[in-house]
């Protein structure tokens, strides 16, 4: 039992009822096939013409056929034919397919082109008909038929393996292995193969099921095993002739075949689901944040409260966030009760019109989730559980989806970290800049384009009337981010959320984008929430800074004040890491350790 549990844990299969039943059935079938001579009550081929076409009884549990042979015994012996036949076919397919696919993918060049054209040709052949033709030519033999089917099925593996190998062969870890001095065979065997194995096992179960059916089909038409040997296919064939006077006869072999194929496929599904999550045992932030959140909660009273509320109360707030709580509904472990983990806890922010607030924190501190909550785009499984968000007079959390859509892109705009991924590669940039105007201002195509040209000029793109027809790939990273900013500014929003807008850019480009954002923000008098992990960047562009850690704001204050006289030890540690290499070893990533040091203060 222990071994079984380990096996399940190792294979990462989620034991649903279906997978469990399938596994049990396959174990039963395999066991019965192995022990057939010991457990069958009758010789499968011994005829008893006095007891033909009997129904189920205690002597013959599944009755007898037209020659008086015991159906149960024949069905069990048939498994001894079906399983090895399917195994041979699958083995040939996998072995040959892997050899061709891996070598084609890794070596490439001429060998790749020749072998892949051959694979394409084989794909065009109808498998079962070729197998029948081969059997017709070399005489009826199940082995020949299955090897032929295996050869034909191998093309799927060749393509699969080639695809995986091509996708990993230029990854960093392959390069690292080559630099280390690994030989080609080792790189293939130890670095490339493990990646192929996952999808391969899944594909193999499907092929196995396919081979079971093929064997039954061949035996059904008399080209597989020869009488009197039992096979599910040949049993079905003899049942077919008796269908008028003994319809029950078709049931045992039919059911056996049906259940076995179904079980193999269910198991394959289970394996595929496991492969989909392999290497990702559970969403990591959940586990970590759980600890973080509890550490913060237990430590909550010791937070310097007057720091967290902020000292500037702007007269005309553009955005008011009050005690916002965002949580993840845990789905990491199915057996456990769904637990809610707070990733943003009791967060309050006020942003005046024309003010820039920087939100600083390490990855996983909840700063991006705060931004997504503001714009109403939290990913599935994450939701706001408490608090309120007011943008001017709008209560964002109480709005319907339609009215939120009307606000998004119009009153609130957002720019993201990677402009290359945020822009649609198949549309020119003019139409992407103009899109919010077309949606929210109902501008005509030509009006929108004129506006787009003007916006492009405003964000410092040279020759805007020419560039407006360009596609994203024709622009540099800095130019793309300018396009994103132009689109965000199209409707002159009240609030601009910038989530790490310069992290992916070069230093000199970052400088120019920061200058641009600062200039535009003061011209437009719009509020800006600038999110970054880089305290230097934030202090450069923002009026106030809020430092976030483990879902909470630990310190908030005017930019110069906060960087010159940090009060919270975490801010101090964060500043120290930015300044020099010779920092005292503060273990920032260990919340418990830091919280004890907090208590000592």
């Amino acid at each position: 039992m222990k071994f079984f549990q380990d096996l399940v844990k190792w294979s990462r299969i989620r034991l649903t009822h279906g997978v469990l039943l399938a596994a049990i059935w396959l174990v039963v079938v395999c066991g019965a096939a192995l022990l057939a001579p010991l457990i069958t009550p009758y010789n499968p081929n011994s005829q008893n013409l006095l007891a033909t076409n009997l129904g189920p009884s205690w002597q013959h549990l599944l009755g007898t056929d037209n020659l008086g042979r015991d159906t149960l015994s024949r069905a069990i012996f048939a498994a001894r034919v079906a399983l090895p036949a399917a195994a041979i076919g699958t083995f040939v397919a996998v072995a040959l397919g892997l050899a061709v696919g891996v070598s084609a993918g890794y070596i490439g060049g001429l060998w790749d082109r020749i072998s892949m054209r051959a694979v394409d040709a084989v794909l065009a052949l109808p498998g079962l008909i070729v197998a029948i033709a081969v059997v017709g030519a070399v005489g009826p033999s199940l082995l020949h038929a299955m090897v032929t089917l295996g050869l034909l099925a191998s093309v799927a593996y060749a393509r699969l393996a080639r695809g995986v190998v091509m996708s990993v062969r230029h990854r960093d870890y392959i390069d690292a292995a080559r630099v280390t001095g690994e030989t080609a065979s080792h790189v293939l065997l130890r670095e490339v193969m493990p990646n192929v194995l996952g999808p391969l096992v899944v594909q193999a179960t499907l092929t196995f099921a396919h081979m079971l059916l093929a064997e039954a089909a061949l035996s059904f038409i008399g080209l597989g095993v020869q009488a009197p040997q039992a096979s599910w296919g040949s049993m079905l064939n003899s049942a077919r002739s008796q269908i008028d006077n003994d319809p029950f006869l078709a049931l045992p072999p039919g059911l056996a075949l049906f259940l076995t194929v179904l079980s193999v496929q269910t198991l394959g599904d289970g394996l595929r689901n496991a492969a989909g999550t392999a290497g990702r045992s559970k969403p990591r932030p959940l586990g970590n944040l759980n600890v973080l959140a509890s550490a913060v909660r237990s430590n909550g009273t010791e937070q310097p409260a007057e720091e967290a509320t902020g000292r500037i109360l702007p007269s005309e707030p553009a955005l008011v966030v009050d005690s916002l709580c965002v949580s993840v509904v845990g789905t990491a472990d199915r057996s456990a009760a769904p637990d809610e983990t707070l990733i943003v806890e009791d967060l309050s922010l006020v942003l005046a019109k024309g003010e820039a607030l920087g939100l600083v924190g390490e990855s996983g501190s909840g700063k991006s989730m705060t931004a997504l909550a503001l714009i109403g785009l939290l990913p599935p499984g994450i939701r706001v559980i408490a608090g309120s968000i007011h943008l001017g007079s709008h209560d964002l959390l109480r709005m319907s989806d339609t009215s939120m859509n009307a606000i998004r892109g119009d009153r609130i705009a957002m720019i993201f970290q990677n402009p290359a991924r945020s822009l649609d590669p198949v549309r020119n940039i003019g139409s992407q800049i103009a899109e919010p105007l077309r949606i929210h201002r109902q501008l005509s195509r030509s009006q929108a384009k004129r506006q787009a040209v003007e916006l492009l000029g405003r964000v410092g793109v040279q020759r805007p009337s020419k560039r407006v027809n360009d596609y994203p790939h024709q622009l540099s990273g800095g130019q793309m981010q300018r396009v994103m900013i132009a689109a965000a500014l199209a409707c002159s929003p009240d609030l601009l959320i910038a989530d790490e807008p310069t992290t992916a850019l070069d230093t000199t480009v970052q400088r120019r984008i920061l200058d641009l954002l600062r200039e535009l923000q003061s011209q437009e008098a719009m509020a800006m929430l600038f999110i970054s992990h880089d305290l230097a960047v934030v202090s450069d562009i923002c009026d106030r800074i809020a430092v976030m850690r483990a879902g909470r704001i630990v310190e908030q204050g005017p930019a110069g004040d906060l960087t010159d006289r940090p009060r919270h030890p975490y801010t101090r540690a964060l500043l120290a890491t930015e300044m020099s290499l010779d920092t005292p070893d503060v273990t920032l990533s260990d919340p418990l350790q830091t919280s004890t040091s907090l208590r000592q203060l």
Partner: protein, 327 residues
């Protein structure tokens, strides 16, 4: 001075053929002394990564020679003799991507030991434990796969793997770019410690002035495939001679708020900084179109790297002269 660990001479790397040919690295020469760090500073597309890959033997240089400990680096083919990787190792930018997701950490770490040292199984396990201790990694993580670890942890493993075969030179290609500032500081400190104990040399490639400055003894600045300035780290940072280096240094964000002066919200006074149009040319200084003191000479001829004072080299017709040097 002893013989340098790495000697790169007149290296040129090109990609593509015919009209599509682009020159990624253009006649670069440099030397890295034993146990020191040579920082390569440059922005994306400057050719710094291609230079690193050429040193590793992962790309085939068009011209020039690369010698590690006096031995010519041959480009790696699919088939190659093991043992070549003993002198040079690599740490890549993406820590999670540079470890095989399908293999456990301990297997990835054991690989260089198995190849180069021919340890027995027990000795290998002991060596792995010693390594993990050196890079400050929790030994219980060894059985995990990279996806279960954080970026910082993966980068420690990648560093441990690089150090495992006691190489003479490690090429670090943006090793801390994807990491949070606190994690970044720790990884940099680890690299500095390992250099002190193993006296390994680093070719440290980054776009981040702060990061390069922390670790480097010498700094080379690359622009459009060329090495445009090269010298002792302190010298290059405090007295940049190439206008591009000066711009790069000025652009680095810092905490002294010198940029935080906001203009008044006056729409009549627009001063939006434009994005420069970069046009590639076959002759002249590549930086000329963006240079504030470009003159007609700059458009005509490509400046060569010339030695100025104190082993400080610059490729500019009109290098900047700092006040204290203009005696």
């Amino acid at each position: 001075m002893s013989r340098p660990v790495l000697e790169v001479e007149n290296l040129t790397v090109t990609y593509g053929h015919g009209a599509k040919r682009t020159t990624a690295v253009d006649s670069v020469s440099l030397e890295v002394a034993e146990g020191t760090t040579f920082g390569i500073l440059g922005e994306s597309g400057s050719g710094k990564t291609s230079l690193g890959r050429a040193v590793l033997g992962l790309v085939n240089p068009k011209e020039g020679s690369i010698k590690i400990d006096g031995v010519e680096v041959k480009p790696l083919r699919i088939r190659r003799a093991p043992g070549q990787g003993k002198s040079v190792q690599v740490v890549f930018q993406d820590p999670i991507g540079s470890l095989n997701p399908a293999r456990r950490v301990i297997d990835s770490l054991g690989e260089p030991l198995r190849i180069h040292q021919r340890y027995s199984r027990e000795a290998r396990v002991a060596a792995i434990e010693r390594l993990t201790e050196q890079v400050g990694l929790d030994p219980t993580l060894l059985g995990r796969k990279p996806m279960d670890l954080s970026g910082g942890q993966c980068q420690r493993i990648a560093i441990a793997r690089a150090v495992a075969s006691t190489p003479r030179l490690i090429v670090c290609d943006e090793p801390v770019t994807g990491l949070d500032p606190p994690t970044r500081a720790k990884v940099l400190r680890l690299l500095a410690e390992l250099q002190a104990t193993h006296s390994v040399a680093y070719l440290f490639i980054s776009h981040d002035v702060m990061v390069v400055r922390r670790l480097s003894d010498r700094i080379g600045v690359m622009y459009a495939g060329r090495l445009i300035e090269c010298g002792p780290a302190g010298e290059v940072i405090t007295h940049p001679m190439h206008p591009y280096t000066a711009e790069l240094l000025a652009a680095a964000p810092d905490l002294d708020h010198k940029h935080r002066t906001k203009s008044s919200p006056d729409p009549t006074k627009q001063k939006i900084p434009p994005e420069p149009d970069t046009v590639s040319r076959s002759h002249g200084c590549a930086y000329a179109s963006q240079c504030t003191n470009a003159q007609s000479t700059c458009w005509m001829s490509t400046p060569a790297l010339r030695t100025s004072s104190r082993a400080h080299q610059v490729a500019c017709h009109f290098p900047l002269v700092s006040n204290d040097k203009r005696v």
